[in-house]
C-alpha cells in the first residue's frame, strides 16, 4: 500500500494528469495524428509511462510537498493525484503525518500551548538556582 484515499479508503486505483507527445503529419491536405516513433521506439508511450512514474514517485517521496491546504473542505488535498473510485483529492501516503484533519491554525495552537509554555519559562527562570533547604 503506497497511497490511500481518506474518503473511500481505496489504495489501488488513482488518476493523474500526465503530459504526453503526439505526432502531427499533414498528408495530402489531411492532418494525421499518431504516436511519435523514432525508428521502432514508441516515444509517446514511453513518455506517458515515464511521466506517470515520475509523478507517482514524487508524491510518494515528497508527500507533504504534494499537498495543499483547502480552507473550504478544511483538509489537505493532493495537488497531483486523485482517487479513481470516488474522485476525492484527499490522497496521501498511509500513516501520513499530513493527516487531512490535523491542520491547526497557528494562533489556536499557540493559545492551546500557552500554559505549557509559561510552565517551561518558569522552569528556566529557576533552573540555575540551588534548591533551598528547609531550616530546622
Amino acid at each position: 500500500m503506497q497511497l490511500i484515499c481518506s474518503d473511500c479508503w481505496n489504495y489501488t486505483y488513482f488518476e493523474v494528469d500526465v503530459e504526453t507527445l503526439r505526432e502531427l503529419k499533414a498528408d495530402s491536405g489531411q492532418l494525421v495524428v499518431q504516436d511519435t516513433k523514432f525508428e521502432d521506439f514508441n516515444y509517446s508511450e514511453s513518455m506517458l509511462r515515464d511521466n506517470l512514474n515520475d509523478i507517482v514517485q514524487y508524491v510518494i517521496k515528497q508527500n507533504g510537498a504534494a499537498l495543499i491546504w483547502d480552507p473550504e473542505s478544511n483538509s489537505y488535498l493532493n495537488n497531483y493525484i486523485s482517487c479513481a473510485r470516488c474522485g476525492s483529492k484527499r490522497v496521501t501516503k498511509p500513516y501520513s503525518s499530513w493527516h487531512s484533519n490535523r491542520h491547526q491554525n497557528l494562533d489556536k495552537e499557540l493559545l492551546a500551548n500557552q500554559k505549557e509554555f509559561t510552565e517551561l519559562r518558569k522552569e528556566r527562570k529557576y533552573a540555575d538556582r540551588l534548591p533551598v533547604l528547609w531550616k530546622e
Partner: protein, 87 residues
C-alpha cells in the same frame, strides 16, 4: 492543410505535447498498470489556438518556428481555381 517548418523546411512531421488524464493502479509488486487514458485537450482547438502554436515543434530539427496553412488553396487566382475545377 499544410504545416511548414520555417527552420529546416524539410520535415512534414511535427510534435505536439498534450495533457491526458491517466487512470492507473498499483500492482501487488509495487509496479504501475495503466487502465485508461483520456485526453484533456482538444487537438483541433490547440492547433488553431495561436498561443499553442509555439508548442508545436519539428520532429527533424526540433525548431518551434512552425507555420500552419489551414487552406492552402485560399489565395489562388480564379484561373487556377477554374483550371483545377476543370480537372
Amino acid at each position: 492543410m499544410r504545416i511548414d517548418c520555417l527552420s529546416c523546411g524539410k520535415s512534414n512531421q511535427f510534435l505536439l505535447p498534450l495533457w491526458t488524464s491517466t487512470t492507473f493502479k498499483f500492482n501487488e509488486d509495487g509496479s504501475l498498470s495503466i487502465l485508461h487514458v483520456k485526453p484533456l485537450e482538444i487537438l483541433e482547438e490547440k492547433i488553431t489556438d495561436n498561443k499553442s502554436l509555439r508548442e508545436i515543434s519539428c520532429k527533424e530539427c526540433g525548431s518551434n518556428e512552425v507555420d500552419i496553412v489551414f487552406n492552402e488553396y485560399e489565395n489562388q487566382d480564379d484561373d487556377e481555381v477554374s483550371a483545377l475545377e476543370g480537372l
